[in-house]
Every structure is written in structure tokens, then in C-alpha cells.
């Protein structure tokens, strides 16, 4: 709502030059500290004056957060690695191309040159009510404005809604979940590792956060095991415009096949729920199956079981079904059928 949605209010700016220093600052300032990586999520809140902060901790000078390293056949990617660096990385394209493709489809070139993978996976939802400052559950209020008979909820969730119907807007998140990635989180002097699929939080667990990160936590790097290196990947992002727009639905999948049969698969769909959804029922149904018409059709039907469309997002149901089918098939339907 209006009044004034412009002019970024003043804050204190800290630019730590090491991971230790960053962790200390976050511990010291607790709730008062706001982390800025690429800033693409943060500036929207701060410039609109919808959220405020007294202290910003900017991570651009922390060397430990940069870089792509080989580790045991897999990779470890610093959280501050830009999306462009990921999209253009030879080694990521060679082994985990699904992530490179996802990163390359985010927003626009200038945003990719600055936005980071850590920021992209940790970003806040883009529900327009929430972003405009309406006092909903996610904002600490006691209602959801998007899930009403009169709300315009074209971009909202069809699955796993729990009072809140916002969706996860990240493109890299489904790819990381599909790759069985792990998120390395530092808090003070301690480090913990969380599986990507558990990094994201749904409203049933905590309606005010999109990830497990709390004040004082810092995502330092993302690890990809060698597991899915070189698998058959599929990534597709469906959106209105070809630039800038967030996904209406996206999908990342990794399939290991042998002799035309699927050994194991990961199928992860984004922007249909508050977290990137790993479709375990679909994955289980695919294991051991030939890639044929029945398998493809079944995968699609399983994927959308339990979907609950709202007034304006019913299209996400067939869209999700069709994307899952494409992922299994390896592309769009062919022939003139």
C-alpha cells in the first residue's frame, strides 16, 4: 500500500573481510543484522521501506564464500558465487548442467552478474500481497490475503499450502534439490550441513521463513556430491516474459538410466508450493521402469495428486503434469499425434 515506497532508509554498513569476522558480526547484532549478498532480494524490501534494518552485513569481501572447488568428484560452490559464474562454469556445465541451465535463466544478465547462488536459494517469496507490505501470516499477522475468494492468486501454490499459499520463486533451488546438494551453514564458530531438500521450510513448519536460516546463521557454501554427475538432466522454466519474470512453474530432474530403464531419478518442481517439491512418489514410480508412454503419463498423474487449485492458478495443475512428463521423456512431446 502506498504512502511512500521509495528512498532507502539509512543503515550502518559492515563489510567483513573474513568468514570469522562475518560470523562474529552476525552473532553480535543478532536480530538487528541483515545479510546482503547480491542484494537483489534485499533492495526490494529496503527501497520500498516495507522492511527496515539498522545494520547491514555485506559479504562481497569474504574470500571463503567465493569459488568453485572440486571435492571428491563432486563440487563445493561458495555461496557468494554469482549466477553468471555458475551458468558459465565449465565444470558445472560438464557434470551438473542442470544447475548451470537453471542459473542462466534467472532474471536478466545484469542481475546474474551480481546475484549469488546463496541469495537465489535463500530468497524470500514473491507473493505480491506479502511483498507489498500487507500484514499477512508471513508478515506476523493473522490472515492470508491471497487465499480468499476475491484475491488474485495466479502465481500462488497448488500444493502443500498451510494457511499461506506463497510459492518458492528460486530457479536454482529445484536443481540443487535434484542434485542431492547439501547446504553448509555457519553459526558463530560452528558449522552444520543440511540436505538441500530440508533447507527449505514450508508454512506448516514456520510460516514466517522460507529456509531454515535464522538470525545469526550464514550459508557459506553448497556441496554437490558426485552422485548425479553426468546424469540425464532436464530443466525448464515456464514464465510469461523471457526476461526478469519469476517462474510460474519450473522443474529440475536428474535421471540415471541403463538399457532404456530408469535406475533412479530425482524430480523437483518449483513455484507450486512454498518449497521446491521433491516428488518422491514420482521418483519411486519411475525406479526400474522403461521410459515409455505409460511411464511418462503415470509420472504426470502422480505428480499432481492432491493439487488444490485456487481461483486463478488452476493452470498450474496441467502445467506441472506436463512438465513432469517432459522431464521423464527428456523433452516436449514429438510427432504429429
Amino acid at each position: 500500500m502506498a504512502i511512500l515506497h521509495d528512498v532507502i532508509p539509512p543503515f550502518q554498513l559492515f563489510q567483513p573481510s573474513s568468514l570469522d569476522e562475518a560470523a562474529e558480526l552476525l552473532e553480535a547484532y543478532g536480530d538487528d543484522a541483515w545479510i546482503i549478498a547480491g542484494g537483489m532480494d534485499s533492495f526490494d524490501w529496503l527501497k520500498d521501506r516495507t522492511k527496515r534494518t539498522e545494520v547491514v552485513v555485506e559479504l562481497g569481501q569474504v574470500p571463503e564464500l567465493q569459488g568453485i572447488r572440486e571435492v571428491d568428484g563432486g563440487l563445493e560452490i561458495g555461496a557468494m558465487t554469482t549466477l553468471t559464474d555458475i551458468a558459465e562454469s565449465a565444470i558445472i556445465n560438464e557434470r551438473f548442467s542442470v544447475l548451470a541451465k537453471a542459473a542462466g535463466l534467472v532474471a536478466s544478465p545484469q542481475i546474474r552478474h551480481q546475484g549469488t547462488i546463496g541469495g537465489n536459494v535463500s530468497q524470500d517469496t514473491r507473493c505480491t500481497y506479502y511483498r507489498s507490505g500487507w500484514t499477512c501470516y508471513r508478515a506476523g499477522g493473522n490472515t492470508c490475503y491471497a487465499d480468499t475468494p476475491t484475491a488474485v492468486n495466479r502465481e500462488h501454490a497448488i500444493l502443500n499450502a498451510s494457511r499461506c499459499v506463497a510459492v518458492s520463486p528460486s530457479d536454482t533451488a529445484p536443481a540443487l534439490v535434484a542434485l542431492d546438494a547439501q547446504m553448509v551453514i555457519r553459526r558463530g564458530s560452528r558449522e552444520r550441513v543440511v540436505d538441500a531438500v530440508d533447507y527449505f521450510v514450508g508454512p506448516d513448519l514456520d510460516i514466517t521463513r522460507m529456509t531454515v536460516l535464522e538470525h545469526g546463521d550464514l550459508l557459506t557454501s553448497i556441496r554437490m556430491p558426485a552422485t548425479w554427475s553426468g546424469a540425464r538432466f532436464y530443466f525448464e522454466k515456464v514464465r510469461d516474459r523471457e526476461v526478469w519474470d519469476f517462474p510460474l512453474v519450473n522443474i529440475a530432474s536428474a535421471v540415471r538410466e541403463s538399457g532404456g530403464r530408469i535406475e533412479e531419478a530425482r524430480v523437483v518442481v518449483g513455484a507450486v508450493a512454498a518449497r521446491p517439491l521433491r516428488l518422491r512418489a514420482v521418483e519411486n514410480a519411475l525406479a526400474g521402469q522403461l521410459v515409455n508412454t505409460q511411464t511418462i503419463a503415470r509420472a504426470g498423474e502422480l505428480a499432481i495428486e492432491g493439487a488444490r487449485p485456487l481461483r486463478f492458478n488452476g493452470y498450474k495443475v496441467p502445467l506441472m503434469r506436463n512438465l513432469v512428463q517432459r522431464a521423464v521423456r527428456g523433452g516436449p512431446v514429438t510427432g504429429t499425434a
Binding site: 521509495d6 510469461d240 499425434a337
Partner: protein
């Protein structure tokens, strides 16, 4: 003009170097010593009244210099026309600030401070008690018997019955419950309406028809989103107001500012050399510029008011959505025999835009129905001001009509181009209502030629053959649309001086918003004077530089109007030069002609430089000391200031014109739909224009394709979104309102022009800014229905969710008539 050296040729406009080096200054690029910064406080509610305001905390903040309320602004003055007619100011019209905001986002007050941070903090410290008032954001909801009204006194504008010259006032219009019977199925009710006209025998037309269709189609509201917001810098010097702001005109903006500020026009100086787009939203400036003007008066300091993108989308203008019901009867050859058009237009709570009414006029010209009735109603909602946007009313009317024509062609088994060709206007074709036995008509129309050219260049037959053929998940379709809009006015003034240095100094009053007309039109004068372009200097953008009375760069009128004015001024200079030559060299004036930067009768010659020197010696008419009676007072003032400097060409365009000037465009598009996602992209597009003589090809190409893309945006994804329950906007960012990006359009677009001169203008040139818009929009829609079949959508834009759901369910699933979704 067959052997033209200038007209019809490309060249580098005089503003390009400044633009390309970043030296060009737009309004917010200026800095003045001691400048204060103003920011706006916007209404959080769709309709409210300010009960009380406490600004004490804000005023106490160091650095806060003034707080401006609506009551601090001058009440706008009446308009006095050239004929001395007084048109009373509308007391309920849009102002810069309001204590009864009528839309969420409306500016309520402004704060001036030493910097933006202080102004912003001050705004947040202001305590406002708003009384919420009833609101509505859907035109069909307010028309219901118990629907809320946007204003406390009503939901439409009108005049008391039988008083056509009374000022408009707010009235109430309600339809009966029974009228809404089929609205949920997507049939637009036809209740009470405001405007109506008709000609021909509608009943007979339907009777004679082979196919009769009854269709409803809705277009969306669309923000102009000019890239440069309407920021403004204002300061006062020696009693004059200096204003830096973007606009689509110069002297006419001075007239607006003077009226808003209750100043004499001589006391306003406008600096507007560069404007970042207009599209109709700032034809004569924007009333918000009075905020820094008054703040500057209050504080004694210059005041810069930066308008943010979000503010711009509120006050910057929106094209109104139109709901249209079309009952059309076609003969077996496709000829349109009867057209019954009913249009409901959405408006803000402020001055009505004429889009709903004008739609019928445009459609009547474009399809030449044998009989037609046009009924239109415009109702008010609590949404931001509607402003004319490129092809206002015409774009929507054509977009509503085109799917009907396409469907008729398919039912009749006729080619899509042929059905538009058989109905196309030719020569002086009529449009609009009948007055007795007479109807207005256009000056010329070469639309058939444009269609024929397009068929050939777009390879229509090949593309048509593959329409609807499924290939994997993809299916392609090709469509064509025709379009038209007014493209020329008359009666403005040309002014230039050829000085003793042999150069032409042109005073260009045309706004520089990107059309390049500010320079292009003067090529006509230079051509007539036989001067190379290097010898021409154009002054533009600063009204203290003695600019003549010039049209607004809106309504596609500039190319036509100002080439005529340039022609008139050049003719004036040539006549004077002939007289001067005859006096100096002997013989009759008529024996002299312009050649080689001089004037000659074959045996004796003078250079134009010499003619200029002689003009100064002779004074009187030759150098501007005596001026024609029929030029505008603005021109008189400017010409007077320039007197005595050389040979002056100054004249009013008094050329005759038989008819109203229109330009025509045929747009051809091929799209490819992915049936698994509903997504589609435009594979190819071409536009062919009939705009008379082309003055500057590259500039023309930029316009015809650029405006086609504006139309494509209306088909692809661009629209406003509101939560009707709260009356609040939801698409407040561009990633939500979705103007087209470079990747949303075809990579190689083509254009062509028929290039046949309009016979009613000495130069033969017509405008092009607006006719392409509907061509771009409707060609896409027609291509989609060629790919997917009829009845897949009934409103625009058509987004992937609409297509996917229609494919899944076999019919359009999008709510047909709900506004702002």
C-alpha cells in the same frame, strides 16, 4: 518531390550525438544551487477523505522546508479558446494533490526538504486520519443496482438532459438486475448508455447476412510506463516560473502550466529538450509539476521533485479497458453489412477519456459497415487516471472487432486478408455518424495496397498453409490485422530565419519525446529552400528560444501538421526571396526560382546569404518586423523577438484539406504455441503502412515497428491487476505488469510503406505514431486463433494460463468480464 535530397532520405538527427554521449539532459538530470527535494505522500486507500492531518513532527525535523497540501495549490483556471470561448474548469477534475483521494496511490501531499532521506522520513512522521469511503474497481460492479460508486455523488460524467452545452458533472448510472442475465457466460450486458449514433438500416443488414455473430471481447487496462518518470524541477527568477519536465509539446505545455498556476504565458519558461517517452500520457505536460512550482514559491528555493517508478504507474497514465459486444452480419463474400457495437469503458474517478466513444468511429472507418450502430458508456472506478495512450479507443475497438472478423472469415471459408480487403476503406471513405445525408470522410486510404504488399512480402500463402498444423508440442498460426487512426491536424505555424551567413535557423516547437519529428518536419523547409542539411540549425525544447505555435505530439498529428506549417513558412520565404531578387536584379518575382542555395532567373542570381542581408536592410515583412495577421499569438511573440536577423519565413498552415487525415497499417504475424505449456512466441511480424509520403525512413521504421510492439505487449502479457475486495493494485512492479522485453518479440521484424502521397496536403505526409498499435495486438490474437481455433479466448492479453486451460477444457476458462485480473 521526386529528386529529393532531404525528404525521404535518412540522416542523423541533431539530438543524436548528445543522446549517445550521455550529455542530453532530461528533467531530473538538472541541478541548481540550493535545490530542495520534494517527495509525495500517496493514498493507501482507494477512496477516502482526509479528516485531519498532524504535520507537527514532520515540520520539527531539521531539514524539512515545506509541506504542501491540496489547498495550497492554485485552483485551475478556465480554458479560453482561440475564439474567445470560455470553458469552465472542472472543480471535480484531477488535481496534483487531493484531500479526498479517489484511487490508491493518489498523491495527497508533498514534502520539500534538503534531501530525499529527510523528505521521506518526514512523510512517515505525518499523522493522517483517513475516513474510508465506498469504493469500486470494476465498471460492471458499479453498474449493478446496488453497486458502490467511485465518487460520493455518482459513477459517471454527464450533462443534464437537454442541455448539451452545460458543463459535465457527476451523475449516477445503474443498470437493472435483469440486464446482467448472461454476464457470467461472458456476454456483455447492454444496459443504459451515454452515447449513441447510427447510420444505415441495421435490420436489413442482418437480414441480408450469410453469417451473423454475437461476440463479447474485453481489453485490459495498461499503464503507459514511459521510461522517464514525470519528475520536474521548478524555480522562479524575476517573477517567471522556470520548469524542467518531460512533455510531448512545448508552447502548448506552457499554456497548460500557465493555466494550472494562474500565470500569464509570458511568465512561464519551459525547458524540455529531451523527454523519455510520452505515448499520450503527457501531451501538454502533467499537472503534478505544479507541486515543485508551488513548493518553490513557498520556500524561495528551486525544488526538484523526483517521481519514482511506482508513483509513475499511478499518476503516469493508463489506457482504459474496454468491454465490447459486437453483433456483426457478413455477406457471403465477407462484406460487413451490419455492425451493432456496444462498448463499456472503464475510467478513473476523474475526467472521462473518450476511448469508449471513439472506438466506434475508428471501427466504422476501418471496416466500412453498410449499416452501423455505436453505443458507448464510460463509468468511473477508483483506479488511477486514464490518459490517451497511442491510438486511444481505436486500439481497443479494433482489438475487439478483429477476432469477430477472423471468425466470420473462417465460417464463410474466406481468406483472412480477403475479408479485410473487401471491407477496407478506399479513397475518401466515410466514418462515424451521419449528419443528415452526410458523413465525415478520410482524405485518402491506401489500405488495400498495404494489404497486397504485405501478402507478398510476408509470404502469406506459405504461412497460411501451415497454420494449425501440429508438430510435436508446437502448433503455428498466422494472422493479419488492419488498423487505422487519425494522423494529421492543421492550422499551426512555421517559423525560421535564413541569416546572412547563409544558414537556416529553424524554430521547432515540436516536443522531442523520441519521434524525431522535432527535426524531421523541417527537412521539408530546407528542401524547398534548396539548402543542404549541414546549413540548417534547429532550435528546440526551450520556450525562451522563441518557438512558434505548434501542435502537440499526440494523435499522430505532427508529421502532417508541421510539414504543412514548414511548407507554408518556406513558401512565404520563397515569395519574399523572389521579391527581393526582382528588386535587386530586375525582372518579375515569378521568374525567379530557388537553386543552389540561391535564387535565380536563369541569367541573374543571388545567394540566399545575400537575400538575407537585403531582407534586413528592407525590414518590414522581409525580416519579421511586419508579421501576418493569422499566426498565433505565441508565434507573433517569438517572431517579433527574432525580427531583423535575416530573411524570415513565417506563416500559418492555411492550406485547405478535404476530409480528416488518417493513416492505415496492415500487420501480419506468425506465432508458435507450445500446447504442453500454453506458452507461445511470435515467430515473425511485418507491418505495412499507408502514411502518405515518408519523410524520414529510419524514423518511420522505428515508429511502425515500435508501436506494433506496444500493441504486441497488450496481446502478450501486459495489464493492471487489482484486488477487487480491497481496491488495491497488485501489479505494482514491472515484473508484474509485464511490458515486453527484447526477447518477447521476433528477432527480425520487417516493415514497408506504400509511400503514396496524401492528396490533401502539399507535402503528402501523414503521421504513423498510433495506427500500428492495434495491428500489432490483433495480428497476434488472430495468429493465435489460426493456430488453435476460434473461441479459445475472449479477452486480451492472452497468457499461457489462458491457453493451457482452454486447451484442457475445450473452452475459455478465464473469467470473461471481471476487471483487473
Amino acid at each position: 518531390m521526386g529528386d529529393n535530397k532531404l525528404v525521404g532520405r535518412n540522416y542523423t538527427t541533431p539530438d543524436l550525438l548528445a543522446k549517445v554521449t550521455g550529455r542530453a539532459k532530461y528533467a531530473e538530470d538538472f541541478r541548481v544551487d540550493g535545490m530542495l527535494y520534494a517527495r509525495l505522500l500517496l493514498s493507501p486507500l482507494p477512496h477516502a477523505r482526509v479528516r485531519s492531518i498532524d504535520t507537527s513532527a514532520a515540520e520539527a525535523m531539521p531539514g524539512v522546508r515545506a509541506i504542501l497540501r491540496a489547498s495550497d495549490l492554485p485552483a485551475p483556471a478556465d480554458v479560453v479558446t482561440d475564439l474567445g470561448e470560455r470553458i469552465a474548469a472542472n472543480p471535480k477534475g484531477e488535481q496534483a494533490l487531493s484531500d479526498e483521494p479517489l484511487y490508491a496511490g493518489e498523491p495527497v501531499l508533498a514534502v520539500a526538504a534538503v534531501d530525499e532521506e529527510t523528505a521521506a522520513a518526514a512523510i512517515e512522521a505525518i499523522e493522517i486520519d483517513f475516513e474510508p469511503l465506498p469504493f469500486v474497481v470494476d465498471p460492471l460492479v458499479t453498474l449493478r443496482p446496488d453497486g458502490p460508486n467511485a465518487r460520493t455523488d455518482g459513477n459517471c460524467w454527464g450533462r443534464p438532459a437537454g442541455e448539451p452545452s452545460a458543463p459535465i458533472d457527476v451523475q449516477v448510472m445503474k443498470w437493472a438486475s435483469a440486464d446482467f442475465g448472461e454476464v457470467d457466460e461472458g456476454t456483455l450486458p447492454e444496459g443504459e448508455h451515454q452515447d449513441e449514433w447510427a447510420f444505415g438500416d441495421l435490420e436489413a443488414g442482418f437480414r441480408d447476412s450469410a453469417v451473423v455473430l454475437d461476440e463479447t471481447f474485453s481489453t485490459a487496462n495498461n499503464q503507459h510506463h514511459v521510461l522517464e518518470p514525470r519528475s520536474a524541477l521548478a524555480y522562479w527568477r524575476n517573477g517567471k516560473l522556470y520548469m524542467h519536465t518531460g512533455t510531448q509539446s512545448t508552447v502548448q505545455t506552457v499554456a497548460s502550466i500557465a493555466r494550472w498556476m494562474r500565470l500569464d504565458v509570458e511568465d512561464v519558461v519551459l525547458i524540455t529538450e529531451y523527454t523519455g517517452g510520452g505515448f499520450g500520457s503527457r501531451a501538454t505536460g502533467a499537472v503534478i509539476c505544479t507541486v515543485p512550482a508551488v513548493l518553490s514559491q513557498m520556500t524561495g528555493s528551486p525544488v526538484m521533485m523526483r517521481v519514482s517508478r511506482e508513483e509513475e504507474q499511478y499518476i503516469g497514465g493508463i489506457r482504459p479497458a474496454l468491454h465490447g459486444r459486437v453483433k456483426a452480419g457478413f455477406a457471403s463474400d465477407g462484406r460487413l453489412l451490419a455492425l451493432d457495437l456496444f462498448v463499456v469503458g472503464e475510467n478513473s474517478a476523474y475526467e472521462p477519456q473518450g476511448d469508449a466513444s471513439f472506438a466506434g468511429n475508428i471501427v466504422s472507418l476501418l471496416y466500412q459497415p453498410r449499416a452501423m450502430r455505436s453505443r458507448a458508456t464510460t463509468v468511473l472506478t477508483n483506479t488511477p487516471p486514464r490518459r490517451a495512450q497511442s491510438q486511444p479507443g481505436g486500439m481497443q475497438g479494433i482489438t475487439i472487432m478483429e477476432p469477430v472478423v477472423s471468425k466470420a472469415a473462417r465460417e464463410l471459408g474466406i481468406d483472412q486478408v480477403d475479408i479485410r480487403r473487401v471491407n477496407a476503406p478506399v479513397s475518401k471513405a466515410p466514418f462515424g455518424p451521419a449528419f443528415g445525408n452526410n458523413r465525415a470522410y478520410c482524405t485518402s486510404a491506401f489500405l488495400r495496397e498495404a494489404l497486397d504488399l504485405g501478402v507478398e512480402l510476408f509470404d502469406w500463402e506459405t504461412r497460411k498453409a501451415r497454420s494449425g498444423r501440429r508438430n510435436g508440442s508446437k502448433v503455428r498460426g498466422s494472422g493479419v490485422s488492419v488498423s487505422t487512426f487519425v494522423a494529421g491536424s492543421t492550422g499551426f505555424d512555421g517559423l525560421f530565419v535564413i541569416k546572412p551567413d547563409g544558414k537556416m535557423y529553424v524554430q521547432s516547437g515540436v516536443g522531442n519525446l523520441g519521434t524525431e519529428s522535432f527535426s524531421d518536419v523541417h527537412r521539408v523547409a530546407a528542401e524547398m529552400m534548396g539548402l543542404p542539411w549541414e546549413k540548417v540549425e534547429v532550435a528546440w525544447g526551450d520556450t525562451s528560444q522563441n518557438l512558434p505555435w505548434t501542435c502537440v505530439s499526440g494523435g499522430s498529428q505532427t508529421t502532417h501538421a508541421m510539414t504543412r506549417a514548414a511548407h507554408a513558412a518556406a513558401s512565404d520565404a520563397i515569395a519574399k526571396a523572389q521579391e527581393i531578387a526582382a528588386r535587386a536584379l530586375g525582372g518579375s518575382p515569378a521568374s525567379y526560382r530557388i537553386a543552389d542555395e540561391g535564387i535565380t532567373n536563369g541569367t541573374r542570381s543571388m545567394t540566399l546569404a545575400e537575400v538575407a542581408r537585403r531582407a534586413v536592410e528592407l525590414g518590414g515583412r522581409y525580416d519579421g518586423h511586419e508579421l501576418p495577421d493569422d499566426i498565433n499569438e505565441f508565434t507573433t511573440r517569438s517572431a517579433t523577438a527574432l525580427a531583423g536577423q535575416g530573411l524570415m519565413g513565417v506563416a500559418r498552415d492555411a492550406y485547405s484539406r478535404d476530409g480528416t487525415t488518417f493513416s492505415f497499417v496492415a500487420g501480419f504475424a506468425e506465432v508458435e504455441v507450445d500446447v504442453e505449456t500454453g506458452n507461445y512466441h511470435i515467430v515473425d511480424y511485418m507491418a505495412v503502412g499507408d502514411s502518405g509520403t515518408i519523410i524520414h525512413p529510419r524514423s518511420y521504421g522505428g515508429q511502425i515497428l515500435g508501436r506494433s510492439i506496444l500493441g504486441m505487449g497488450h496481446a502478450l502479457a501486459q495489464k493492471t491487476v487489482y484486488d477487487q475486495h480491497y481496491g488495491l493494485p497488485l501489479a505494482t512492479r514491472m515484473y508484474q505488469s509485464r511490458p515486453p522485453t527484447i526477447l518477447d518479440i521476433p528477432r527480425n521484424m520487417k516493415w514497408e510503406a506504400v509511400n503514396l502521397p496524401d492528396p490533401e496536403s502539399p507535402v503528402g505526409a501523414k503521421g504513423i505514431g498510433e495506427p500500428p498499435v492495434a495491428a500489432g495486438a490483433a495480428a497476434i490474437l488472430n495468429a493465435l486463433s489460426a493456430a488453435l481455433g476460434d473461441d479459445m479466448f475472449r479477452r486480451s492479453p492472452v497468457t499461457l494460463d489462458n491457453i493451457l486451460m482452454a486447451l484442457e477444457h475445450g473452452r475459455p476458462m478465464q473469467e470473461p468480464l471481471t476487471a483487473h485480473i
